[in-house]
Amino acid sequence: MDDYLCGIGDGVMITRADLKVNKRRSLWQEIVANKMSYFLLTPFVLCFILFTVLPVVVAIILSFTNFDMLGTLEFVGIKNYVRIILDDEVFMISLRNTLILALMTGPFGYVVSFGLAWLINELSPVLRTVATIAFYAPVLSGQAYTIWSYIFSSDRYGLVNGILISLGIQDTPTAWLADPKYIIPVVIIVSFWMSLGTAFLAFIAGLQGLDKSLSEAAAVDGIRNRFQELWYITLPQMLPQLLFGAVMQVISAFSVGDVSATLAGNPSPSYAGHTFLLHISDFVGARYELGYACALATILFLMMYFSNKFVSKILNSVGR
């Protein structure tokens, strides 16, 4: 398969060697031959370039400037990157927090949401629908995590404080969202709750689309238990969903920020809940240092890109 590429319209097999020889000519020919497909693709491609590719490119270019939104725009070379690494204490805090959150909500959340999807899939259709909605609700409602600021309110009338006080475990309220000790654990709990949704829905869809006959055949061929079935039959069939779930999970894991900002404020006390994304928005919103913020964004972009590469590499070994 590696040696041949399929021409889309002409139905002729072309070898890689042929392609190299007539590369330019054949690409143009292909475009002309498939002009309808390209025409249909145009709206998306235009939008994609305009709203995704272009901003990324502009951001990478701006990251080498000292652009402050209103005044000057000078190229400063890699000064921004040097400052990030050598002279930004807060960046290091935000990097650490982001990695902790990414580890907790990323792989852990991924495995848990798959486990839940797998379990729920065994339920009767009605119960399954109810459970699916229950798990997907936090994502659906978007800002639902604000409820946690009531649960963890630092006031003595906050839910957790109220319960702990009435049980006699503490007698003065704990400042859950102001004490650096507690901010990250609280944010982890809430982000974890939030992160179950999207991947979970993809997994449910994947599990629904399984080919039952394969499981039956495997049972005949001597699968010993459910875990063998999961590993050799179920998961390989679900690779597209797994990949989608993983990409979403990585992106959401690295872009945690709203939750922390809503609960602990932006910036949070002693930067305890400061994440990469909040660090970027701090530089854009409060300081108007767009060049510096772009440099940060570029680093985040690269981190996400390589994590996704890494994850797809791992997923490729599923079932092998």
């Binding site: 630092s154 003595r156 309220p173 004490d179």
Partner: protein, 952 residues
């Protein structure tokens, strides 16, 4: 067990005595504490709510006295005798007039009556223009104020709209109706003294002895003039049957006659805040246009007893007419709103003394009548007036009972709280019935008052049943408490929340909201017009509205004047503000064409995209700095007239808006902290209002001993407590050259320690919602921005009159004076560098910042949105024109004098951020004071330095 308990008491007592005797204050309570033998006295037993001064008690005392009733009202005029008000020979066409110009002026009259008994008092008064729109007097008979209700009586003012005569509203360039401006009608009026809260719907009765009586009138607020005072007999009100018999039997009304009168054009009204609003929910609301906002209904704010609207109608022939009101009452769910109907100033018969307007989501038609048919009113040919007045009618007795119970319950709640704290331990028996010997009897009394309230509600209205659940729950709870006092601790939080909801119930039930579209006068056989659109009408209307929404832009208005002098102005508040400003512009003589736009986007982004305005209003100080230091704003200091403008503000008002010798904005609003005190609680504990921090700490200590707390504002920027302490201790926020914060000086450390000590050593609560706890009395002292006043005035009616605001505590200086310095916050008006017609912009800014315009804007805002929206202008003269009472204004101005506006520096965001970090490090993580402050100050200064390098 009891021995230990007694020891604890003795210990606490000793501690208290020590605190009290060592404190420099010398509380009046110290003597009592020494005498007392138990904690209960320290905490204060349940205070009996004084009922002696009540009107109801007064009436029952004079039960035997004859109420002078007669078909004809007999007036006994009084002779003016003496007083410090001015007696004028001639004033506004009347002779022998007593003029009251200043608060606390009084005058005495002598009235001779033929027979001893209960009389109404009638005044002929002239309503002088006053800024607060209120005239309040107190009346005493024979040297004393007979009851509490007579100690504050409001004399109603008369207002009219400038559109009253025309019957149409002025329109703006897009055809929208403009808000008419109210004018006070300066005229003589006659008024029989009534309860200003409306809890008694009949005029108040006063007992007069046979022979000569002295009546003294004392002016409390506003200004007025009285031409006569007289005692009157009470007039008899006829029933509908008697009325129908007494009117002539002549009916020349054309058959099927019907005439419509638009309610949004009253000829006079009781308050300037009763304004015409628009309703676009139905095509049958008149008048209506798809493309323009037509003001077609009236009734916003028309809900307090005594407020009235009066219309003039023209009648074609003598005869009998029915009345019909097209109304909507969608706020009092399940209840009704009551109105009293006057025709030509008289209540025609007793059945229309309280007309019920029932609840419903849509407009309905209300035709006064009974089961025998609609009432027929006899009107002669010519013009008549029809007036609807808000009344509490048959609800008033029930409401009085609720208020009575509420007051007792709050006293009970407070005294329990002083023993058990806000969150009692449910497993502990506090022996409350022994600690507070008065507790059980007062609970009995409160229970009886509640039962009375419940029965009188049941008598008047079945609809009120839903709200009665609250009463039932409280009655049940009280019964349980009385039977088993040890249950009080466990049920206390439930008890408190019941009281809170009873308080809000009492507040809402006193409101009688009603919106009117129009009313009709019709012959007995006329057909009543339809008030509800059918499906097709509604569908067509909604479709038109939907299409219209693509074309109309309600967030922009275009100036009328010369377009070569046009200025684009952005407002980032609400649409009401936009319209008010537009109206002020229309009325002004400003020779500039102003286009107003409502924009809430970030101005910095807009300026970056080069789509910014010429002038922007209410910009935050930090935005001004951000734009100013990046050279995007026009410096204002060289413009003509800037100097005069500057003199209308406090000395430091412009400092936050300046950067490197340039001033980039004119201050618009300015808010600072005030100390709000619950006077009733302080009085109960015999405490006085603290003036210095030392006094404040002693008072707080006593409050804490009684399980109460104080609330300190948590803001961290220049308005915060730290800045106040820093300035009071003689320090300053920034270095002299503004190159960094100056916290690491000795004064800085001292103030920072003082500030954090309040939370670590004195355990003042770190996080608190001051509003609810101030209401409940849990936090009798809070320090909050002075706009908190509006919140309390609107949303906490149950504690009205029980609180006041003062300057924040100060620090005693070496020369003995008390320094109450603190910072302030607020926004300003800016001009962008890219503005085209700079001179026109400046003209507009000067106009907008001038005191009359600022004050007018504040007044209009308040009458559209209520007291909750009270404006906080930075212009000192504008503040004087806002409706603050003299004492409130004095308190605010006193504090204003020692308010210092802090400069803003590049990197400002790091200042409050790192101050917060240092603060939390000390208070939450129990870190070292010096270390925390110096670490975070260093980080702040580094950021400021970096920014100054780029922009400095």
């Amino acid at each position: 067990m009891s021995k230990i308990k007694r020891k604890i008491f003795a210990g606490t007592l000793c501690a208290l005595v020590l605190v009290v005797s060592f404190s420099s204050l010398g509380f009046t309570s110290s003597g009592e504490v020494n005498d007392s033998g138990s904690l209960a006295t320290v905490a204060g037993d349940v205070q009996e709510v004084p009922t002696i001064n009540d009107y109801a008690t007064y009436l029952s005392e004079h039960e035997q006295a004859v109420v002078q009733i007669g078909e004809q009202v007999t007036r006994y005029p009084a002779i003016a005798v003496d007083g410090n008000a001015n007696l004028l020979d001639l004033y506004q066409d009347k002779e022998q007039v007593v003029q009251f110009t200043e608060e606390q002026q009084f005058f005495t009259w002598e009235i001779a009556v033929d027979e001893g008994g209960l009389y109404n008092l009638m005044l002929d008064y002239f309503a002088s223009a006053s800024k607060s729109g209120i005239i309040t007097i107190s009346v005493s008979v024979n040297g004393e104020v007979p009851y509490e209700q007579a100690s504050h009586i409001s004399l109603p003012l008369v207002w009219k709209d400038n559109s009253s005569e025309k019957g149409t509203f002025d329109i703006d360039s897009s055809g929208n109706d403009l808000l008419p401006s109210p004018e006070q009608v300066l005229q003589w009026s006659t008024y029989a003294l009534c309860d200003s809260e409306g809890l008694y719907s009949e005029p108040l009765l006063f007992y007069l002895n046979e022979g000569v009586n002295e009546v003294t009138v004392n002016l409390l607020e506003g200004a007025t003039a009285l031409s006569s005072v007289s005692a009157c007999t009470v007039s008899e009100v006829v029933t509908y049957r008697q009325y129908a018999e007494s009117v002539p039997d002549k009916d020349e009304v054309p058959s099927g006659y019907i005439s419509k009168w638009q309610a949004e054009h009253p000829s006079i009204k009781s308050n300037d805040s009763l304004y015409a609003a628009y309703d676009r929910s139905s095509p049958l609301t008149e008048p209506i246009e798809v493309m323009a906002l037509k003001r077609n209904i009236i009734g916003a704010n028309w809900e307090n007893p005594g407020q009235y609207l009066e219309w003039e109608v023209e009648v074609p022939a003598d005869g009998y007419y029915r009345l019909g009101f097209k109304y909507r009452q969608r706020e009092q769910d399940g209840l009704f709103s009551l109105r009293k109907l006057y025709i030509d100033g008289v209540l025609p018969f007793e059945e229309v003394a309280s007309i019920r307007f029932l609840y419903g989501n849509d407009f309905q038609m209300m035709i006064p009548g009974d089961e025998d048919g609609d009432y027929l009113f006899y009107l002669t040919k010519g013009s008549h007036t029809i007036r609807l007045e808000v009344t509490l009618g048959e609800l008033s007795q029930a409401i009085r009972a609720v208020d009575d119970a509420l007051e007792q319950l709050q006293a009970i709640q407070r005294s329990i709280m002083m023993v058990t704290s806000v969150n009692p331990d449910p497993y502990r028996d506090y022996m409350l019935d022994q600690e507070l010997p008065n507790l059980i009897p007062s609970m009995e009394r409160a229970k009886n008052a509640l039962i009375l309230a419940k029965t009188s509600f049941e008598e008047t209205s079945k609809q009120a049943a839903a709200s009665m659940r609250n009463l039932d729950e409280l009655i049940e709870l009280l019964e349980r408490f009385i039977f088993e006092p040890y249950e009080i601790a466990a049920g206390f939080s439930n008890f408190s929340s019941c009281i809170t909801s009873l308080a809000s119930f009492s507040a809402t039930i006193k409101l009688q909201p009603l919106e009117l579209d129009y009313f009709v006068l019709m012959a007995a056989d006329a057909e009543v017009p339809a008030v509800k659109a059918n499906f097709f009408q509604q569908f067509a209307y909604e479709a038109k509205m939907f299409l219209g929404s693509f074309v109309s832009d309600y967030s922009t208005t275009t100036g009328l004047g010369d377009s070569s002098k046009s200025v684009e102005v952005w407002i980032n508040s609400g649409r009401d503000q936009l319209y008010i400003l537009q109206e002020l512009l229309n009325k002004s003589s400003l020779d500039v064409s102003v286009d107003l736009k409502l924009v809430s986007a970030s101005l910095v982004s807009c300026v970056m995209a080069d789509i910014g305005p010429d002038v922007a209003l209410s910009m935050a100080r930090t935005t001004v700095l951000d734009l100013g230091m990046r050279n995007q704003l026009e410096p204002l200091n060289d413009y003509e007239g800037f100097g005069e403008l500057q003199s209308e503000y406090t000395e430091t008002a412009f400092i936050p808006y300046s950067f490197k010798d340039n001033i980039y904005a004119i201050p618009e609003t300015q808010v600072f902290n005030m100390m709000f005190c619950r006077l009733d609680v302080l009085e109960e504990l015999h405490l006085s209002v603290p003036k210095t921090w030392d006094e404040f700490l002693s008072v707080a200590g006593i409050l804490q001993q009684n399980n109460m707390d104080v609330g300190l504002s948590n803001s961290l920027d220049g308005t915060g407590l730290f800045a106040a302490l820093l300035y009071q201790n003689g320090g300053s926020f920034y270095n002299d050259d503004l190159s960094g914060v100056a916290f690491t000086t000795d004064v800085g450390y001292k103030s920072f320690k003082q500030w954090t000590d309040y939370y670590t050593q004195y355990s003042f609560p770190l996080f608190s919602s001051g509003y609810n706890r101030f209401r409940s009395g849990e936090m009798p002292i809070v320090i909050m921005p002075y706009s908190f006043y509006s919140q309390l005035a609107v949303a906490a009616p149950e504690i009205a009159g029980k609180w006041a605001m003062y300057s924040i505590p100060g620090t005693t200086k070496e020369n003995g004076t008390i320094d109450c310095s603190q910072g302030a916050s607020g926004g300003g008006t800016i001009m962008l560098k890219t503005a085209v017609n700079k001179e026109a912009c400046w003209e507009f800014m000067k106009w907008w910042s001038s005191a009359p315009v600022q004050a007018e804007f504040g007044l209009q805002l308040e009458y559209v949105m209520g007291v909750a929206a009270r404006y906080t202008p930075a212009n000192l003269s504008a503040f004087d024109l806002l409706p603050w009472s003299a004492s409130e204004a004095a308190a605010i101005k006193e504090q204003w004098k020692s308010t210092i506006d802090l400069p803003e520096v590049p990197g400002y965001y790091y200042v409050s951020r790192n101050l917060n970090n240092a603060f939390l490090e000390v208070t939450v993580q129990k870190g070292n004071v010096r270390e925390a402050l110096s670490y975070w100050s260093k980080a702040t200064n580094k950021e400021i330095e970096q920014k100054l390098e780029q922009y400095g």
